[in-house]
Structure formats: structure tokens, C-alpha cells
């Protein structure tokens, strides 16, 4: 509704115009009939008359609004303007479809339709507002009831009129009006039901629990009717005229709201059924544990309290009302429908099931981070883990085989301080106290066997790598058969077994990590050799005797590099470097000038390029530095060229001193 001033101005202007037109006609023709003819023939005069009609309609609308609604609230006005805009747009679209029938009468009919629509919306807002407004006067009731009666009556009359006109005169624009009014009729019915519900609710003292449900079902039914009406209308329109563009938007909105209502009904029904059947009644102990107040209504819970799967307790009736709106726990918003149905047995079983694959003796290096801290805390049932893990004789090779390829997550799982290989081997040895497990022995065996060659003769061990792993099964004594019947053992024994198992697993991981560290160090070292030798090749060509071995080492390093994953191994190499640090280099050796130097003997580019990842310069530096330290630390790796590391070191020191 336009603001008062423009309406007043418009009224004045239109009346003045009409008076002028009529006066003019009468002045010219002097008689009634000719002046009427004159007015109808002259376009400007007719425009003035139409304007007057429009003004009258607006005035009528304002009058009716005043009668039925009083003054509109701001929100109502806002909504009304917005929806009127859409309605006018759609009407214009409808005009395009029915442009053949375009006439003043047609426009007038659409205006009436718009008016009725607007009043339906307003009635809807009013009834919705009724739920929220504190005081409902008798006037309000009278207004709403009379308005609803009037609207329904008008709708009915217009529908029947449209129906008869369509039957008698064939399909015309009346079809559109018929459907529009039919839809408006459903709207009016919906409003009426809402109004009745609210009224009943207001009359009764206690809040009416089932009101929301009735409203929901009403909405559902009306939505269904509307969707059917729109579908039928669409089909008819397509068959008779063209595609009715102007009903697309309302149709879409209707379908969406219908779908939502349907969804609401289904979900809330399911939630309430769940509540009634699945969720346990809260016991008095539980009630006293949570200070006994339903947080929805803030009243004491004595009976009829339900406990949700998330452990929160509410009145069943409060929950029902809430579930009609939303199917989540009011406190933690857990979706109670998505939650798997709670059964104590399955909940108890779940953690061991998840932990079981990770539990076996040697966790493959990919998974251990979840295994270690969590799994062992929550294992009520050790049998599951043990039975899975124990008796596979092929275990060690299977588990160890992937280790050089994917060794990494171990690192992230537990950042351990650098420990020397000897200390870990002792720890692993110390843990092998129990008779039960094959795995620890195998771990110790692997640890011992790899530690020695790894630290003593890296080059040799590298060359032997491919056959090395297949050898494992032969090194390891076959695992003793697991105890067949755990029930024979006491709880303490089982727990002991499990505890030992844990220690063994840890020790094994430790050993594996050490092996990996050593291997990484060795690989870095090999890279170092390769680069140095090639640079020697290029720059000096002094040592002709070592012509052979650079190729060898380069080849070896190339074969060795792919399996390792350097991004993650850098941590490790740094660990190792920490452990070897005190041996050789003064702190200046770690100067950044080293990494940035362009002298041919620098190993950085080669290291970076040979390792298939993006080591940044610092990491590369530490890696190469480590390589140098390990060179000095271990025995000369390449038997054919024993002086090489010493010479390189000297060379590099010279270079550093030059640079700095």
C-alpha cells in the first residue's frame, strides 16, 4: 500500500482529472449521451477515467485494510510490498500469454486477483503474528474470522464462476483465474486451520503440545493440494496455450515448501519414534547425577524423562515438541537421526574392532600413530587384538617389506629424541623378557642384524639390500604357536601378555626407526659420494684410480634413492646428525655460505636433484653435512677408495675458510 500522501495526491488528481474530463465533455456536447460517447471515444478521457478507477480500487483496498487489519506492522508492510512486486511481475508475464484477450476487463480481473492475493497474505501474516502477540483482542478475532469468511466466499464464487465460464464458453483466461482462486482457497483454508489451532491454544491454559504437529500436517496437506493444482494447471496450460512462464516461480516455491514440510514430517516422526522406542528412560540415579532439571522447560524431571544417545536428559514431552522443529539434541546439537542406534554391546565392541588391525606385533609403519597411544588405553578385550595379531608366521617379511618405502609416519607419531642404535638394541633386548611373542625376538633379530651392517659397512649393506629383505624369514626363528585357549589363563596373565605385547611393539618400532635412520643416513652419504666424485671428475681429474668407483657409487645411489621419501626423512637425518654432531665439524662448518656456494665440490645441487622431493636448502645442507659426518664416523664405505672422505673434508674446510 502506498504511503498516505501519494494516495491523497493521487486521489485528488484523479478526481480533478475526471471532473475536468466530464466537465469538458458536457461543456462540448451539452447532452448526456453524446458526452458519454465522446468520453469513451477519446483516449485521454478514458485514461483519466481509468486512473480514477485505479484510485478508487486503492481507496477501497485501504478501506478494507482499515476494517480488517487496522494499521499494518512494518514487517507486514515490507512483506506485502515484496510479494506484490513479484505478483505484478507474474501478472505482466501472464498478460503476454493472454495478449489476445487483453482488454480493460481483463486488467480489472487481474487487479481484483492481486487484491485478493494481497489480502490473503495479510491474513496469513496476521494469523502468524497471533501466535506471537501477547494480547489478542476480541476485535482481532472478529476481524480475522470475518476476513477469512469473506475471502473464502469470494474465492469460492470466483472459482465457480471461472469453472462455469470455462465449461460454457470454452477455455479462456478464466482458466488462469480459476486456478489462481483455487490456490487462494487452499491458502485461506490453511490460514483458517492455523487460526483455529492458535485460538484453541490460546483458550486452553496449558500449552497445547500437539499444535505444532497439526500445523505441520495442515501445511503438508495444503502443500500437496497446491502442488497437484499447479501440476494440473501446468498440463492444461501447455495443452491449450503455451508454457505458462508466470507460474514457474510460485510453483517452484510451493514444491519446495511441500518438500520441506514432507521432510519435516518424516524426520520428526522418525525422531519421535526413536525417542519413544529406542532411547531409555532416565533412571533416578542418572537424574540426580545431572541436577534433575530439564533444561528445556527448567522444571524438575521426576517421570517421563528420556535419555538421548549423547547422554543428555530431557522431558519426553519437551523433546517431542523440539523434535517437531528440529531433530537434534538441544544441548549438543547432535543429529539424533544420523547417529547409529545406540546399543551398549556394539558400543563396547567398537573400539577393539577398530584397534585390532593395528594391534598386531609389528604394526606396519604406515599406521602406528593411532595404534600406539590410543588403542592400548581402550582395549577392554585383549583377545581380539591378540588373535588377529599373533600367529602369522609370514608376519615379519610382510611387515618389514614396506618399511624402506613408506617409513615415514612413525616419525610423526612419536617424535623421539635421538637415540643411538646401541641403546635401542639394548632396550629391545631388555623388553624381550616374556616367552610369548615371536615378534619381539624377530624385532630384536632384525634390529641387531641391521644395526651391525648398517653402521659398520653401509656401502656393503646397500649393495646387499635387495636380497637382504627376503633373507629375513630365514634369520628369524619360527614363531612359537600362540596359546590356544586364553580362557585357561587368568585375567592378570592375559593382561601381562598384552602389556608385554605393547612393550614389544614399541621396541620393534624403535628398532625399525633406527634402521631407517641409518639407511637414510647411508643414502645421503651415497649421494654425497656420488656428487663429490662427479665434481672431482669434472674439476680435478687428479685421482684416476678412483675413476671406477664414482660410477659405481653413483649407480648405487641412484638405485637407492627412489625407495626413500626424503621430505619426511629429513627429520630423521637431523636426528642422526644431532647424534653425530660432536664428532667432527666445528659450528662454522654448518655455515650457510656452504649451501650457497657455487664451487664445484658442493654437494647440494646433486643431493637435491637426486632425492625426489623438494628439500629446501637448509635441509639439503644438513643432509649433506650429515653425510660428511657419517662418512667420518663410520668406516670408509668404499673399500676401493679409502682416502676419499678425508680429502673431501679437507677440501671443503678449505672452501669454507675461503668463503668466510
Amino acid at each position: 500500500m502506498p504511503a498516505p500522501m501519494p494516495v491523497g495526491g493521487l486521489t485528488m488528481a484523479s478526481f480533478a482529472l475526471t471532473a475536468a474530463v466530464i466537465g469538458n465533455a458536457y461543456y462540448q456536447k451539452r447532452q448526456f449521451y453524446p458526452s458519454v460517447v465522446y468520453i469513451t471515444k477519446s483516449n485521454p478521457s478514458m485514461a483519466a477515467i481509468y486512473l480514477l478507477a485505479f484510485t478508487l480500487v486503492i481507496l477501497l483496498g485501504k478501506f478494507l485494510k482499515k476494517v480488517f487489519f487496522g494499521s499494518l506492522r512494518a514487517a507486514e508492510f515490507e512483506h506485502l510490498v515484496e510479494r506484490s512486486f513479484y505478483a505484478v511481475t507474474e501478472t505482466c508475464l501472464a498478460f503476454t500469454v493472454f495478449r489476445d484477450d487483453f482488454s480493460p476487463k481483463f486488467v480489472a480481473l487481474f487487479t481484483v486477483l492481486l487484491f485478493l492475493k494481497a489480502f490473503h497474505w495479510l491474513a496469513d501474516y496476521r494469523v502468524d503474528f497471533m501466535e506471537r502477540s501477547p494480547v489478542i483482542t476480541l476485535l482481532f478475532h472478529i476481524r480475522v474470522i470475518s476476513l477469512l469468511l469473506l475471502l473464502s466466499l469470494l474465492d469460492l464464487i470466483l472459482v465457480s464462476h471461472a469453472y462455469h465460464s470455462t465449461i460454457t464458453r470454452g477455455p479462456s483466461v478464466q482458466l488462469v483465474f480459476g486456478f489462481e482462486y483455487a490456490i487462494l482457497l487452499t491458502v485461506a483454508l490453511n490460514i483458517a486451520v492455523k487460526y483455529i489451532c492458535h485460538t484453541v491454544d490460546l483458550q486452553s491454559e496449558n500449552p497445547w503440545e500437539n499444535k505444532a504437529m497439526y500445523l505441520l500436517y495442515t501445511e503438508l496437506c495444503m502443500g500437496f493440494f497446491k502442488v497437484v493444482l499447479y501440476a494440473v494447471f501446468m498440463v492444461i496450460m501447455i495443452r491449450i496455450h503455451t508454457f505458462p512462464l508466470f507460474i514457474i516461480r510460485p510453483m517452484y516455491l510451493t514444491m519446495r515448501s511441500f518438500k520441506r514440510a514432507l521432510n519435516d514430517v518424516i524426520l520428526s516422526r522418525r525422531a519421535i519414534r526413536n525417542m519413544n522406542t529406542l532411547y531409555p528412560d532416565a533412571t533416578p540415579e542418572e537424574l540426580t547425577a545431572v541436577d534433575n532439571v530439564c533444561i528445556i522447560c527448567r522444571e524438575e524431571m521426576i517421570t517421563g524423562a528420556k535419555k538421548l544417545p549423547c547422554g543428555h536428559i530431557f522431558h519426553a514431552s519437551c523433546l517431542r515438541s523440539w523434535f517437531q522443529r528440529q531433530q537434534t539434541c538441544p544441548t549438543c546439537r547432535m543429529d539424533i537421526l544420523r547417529q547409529p542406534q545406540p546399543s551398549p554391546a556394539s558400543q563396547g565392541q567398537a573400539p577393539p574392532q577398530a584397534a585390532a588391525p593395528a594391534q598386531p606385533q609389528t604394526p606396519p609403519p604406515q599406521v602406528p600413530q593411532q595404534v600406539q597411544p590410543q588403542a592400548q588405553q581402550q582395549i577392554p578385550n585383549p583377545f581380539a587384538g591378540l588373535f588377529r595379531g599373533m600367529p602369522i608366521p609370514m608376519g615379519p617379511p610382510v611387515d618389514l617389506a614396506p618399511f624402506p618405502f613408506a617409513p615415514v609416519p612413525v616419525q610423526q607419531a612419536q617424535q623421539q629424541g635421538p637415540t643411538t642404535s646401541s641403546s635401542t638394541s639394548t632396550t629391545s633386548g631388555a623388553t624381550i623378557t616374556s616367552s610369548s611373542s615371536t615378534t619381539t625376538t624377530s624385532a630384536a633379530a632384525t634390529g641387531g642384524s641391521t644395526n651391525q651392517p648398517g653402521s659398520a659397512i653401509p656401502a656393503a649393506s646397500f649393495n646387499m639390500m635387495p636380497p637382504f629383505f627376503p633373507l629375513f624369514p630365514f634369520n628369524i626363528p619360527p614363531p612359537p604357536p600362540p596359546p590356544l585357549n586364553f580362557s585357561a589363563m587368568t585375567e592378570e596373565e592375559v593382561r601381562q601378555l598384552e602389556g608385554n605385547e605393547r612393550q614389544h611393539v614399541e621396541a620393534r618400532i624403535q628398532v625399525l626407526r633406527n634402521i631407517q635412520t641409518l639407511l637414510d643416513a647411508a643414502v645421503v652419504q651415497m649421494n654425497q659420494y656420488a656428487s663429490i666424485v662427479s665434481s672431482l671428475d669434472k674439476s680435478t681429474r687428479i685421482n684416476t684410480a678412483s675413476q671406477q668407483c664414482p660410477n659405481q657409487t653413483a649407480a648405487a645411489s641412484e638405485t637407492m634413492v627412489p625407495p626413500q621419501q626424503p621430505t619426511k626423512s629429513t627429520d630423521q637425518t637431523e636426528d642422526t646428525s644431532l647424534l653425530v654432531t660432536p664428532l667432527l665439524f666445528s659450528p662454522e662448518a654448518n655455515d650457510s655460505s656452504f649451501s650457497s656456494s657455487e664451487e664445484p665440490s658442493t654437494s647440494k645441487p646433486e643431493v637435491a636433484s637426486s632425492s625426489p622431493s623438494n628439500l629446501d636448502s637448509g635441509q639439503a645442507e644438513s643432509a649433506s653435512w650429515l653425510g660428511a659426518t657419517t662418512v667420518a664416523d663410520t668406516s670408509p664405505p668404499d673399500p676401493s677408495d679409502p682416502e676419499d672422505p678425508e680429502e673431501i673434508r679437507r677440501r671443503r674446510l678449505e672452501h669454507f675458510s675461503q668463503n668466510s
Binding site: R132, P207, A212, I296, R298, C318, S321, R325, T328
Partner: protein, 127 residues
């Protein structure tokens, strides 16, 4: 009560809470009865914060249901939210576009207006 250390400090802003009949299930409405100039308060005083929005419909489309009304919210929580809203307006979802724009672009002017409002609520003359 305007939170300390903000431009609304020391102000006492009267507001009314309107509780619907199905109160714990539907959120109450809050409306300041004094003049307010704030990105999240409509010019008629209505407060626009997420916990006062009913969970079902999402008129603006950017609130997760986790931050909207739930029957376990209490009046204290609402008031606390409003006080923190006074301290830190959310100019992403503004109810008062002018205020949001000024909050973003011309903080000084905003502070001046806020100070005037504070003084007005305290019946102090504005310098």
C-alpha cells in the same frame, strides 16, 4: 550495559525481550527501546544475532544451525551475546547497513555517534 573498553562503554541501553508463547522452543525477540546505531541492530531497535534466529529457517543463508536458537539457551546467554555483539559488531551480516559501513570505513565517526548515544542514555549533555 555497554561493555568496557568499547565505544559503547558505560552506556545503559534499555531493551525489551519478547517471549513467544512456546518460549523455550522458539527464540524470544529482543528490541532496544532507545536509539541505537550499530551494524547488527535494525533502525527500529530489533537485535539481529544468530542465537535469536529460529533454527528451521535460514533467512540469510549464512548461519550454520549450530549457532542458532536452541531451547537450552537462556536469557543470560542472550544478554551476554548481545553485550559481546555491542563490543564486536559483525559487519558481515548487517542489519543496519549505514552503521556497518561506517563501522568499517569511518570508525571515528562511528565512535562519535556511539558516544552521543551513550550520553543520551545517561542523560548527559553531549559536548
Amino acid at each position: 550495559m555497554g561493555p568496557e573498553g568499547t565505544c559503547f562503554e558505560c552506556g545503559v541501553f534499555p531493551a525489551k525481550l519478547i517471549f513467544p508463547p512456546d518460549y523455550p522452543l522458539s527464540p524470544p525477540k529482543m528490541q532496544f527501546t532507545c536509539e541505537m546505531f550499530h551494524p547488527n541492530i535494525y533502525s527500529d531497535g530489533r537485535v539481529c544475532i544468530s542465537i535469536l534466529h529460529a533454527p528451521g529457517d535460514d533467512p540469510m543463508g549464512y548461519e550454520t544451525s549450530a549457532e542458532r536458537w536452541s531451547p537450552v539457551q537462556s536469557v543470560e546467554k542472550i544478554l551476554l551475546s548481545v553485550v559481546s555483539m555491542l563490543a564486536e559488531p559483525n559487519d558481515e551480516s548487517s542489519a543496519n547497513v549505514d552503521a556497518a559501513k561506517m563501522w568499517r570505513d569511518d570508525r571515528e565517526q562511528f565512535n562519535k555517534i556511539a558516544e552521543r548515544l551513550v550520553r543520551k542514555t545517561l542523560n548527559l549533555p553531549y559536548p
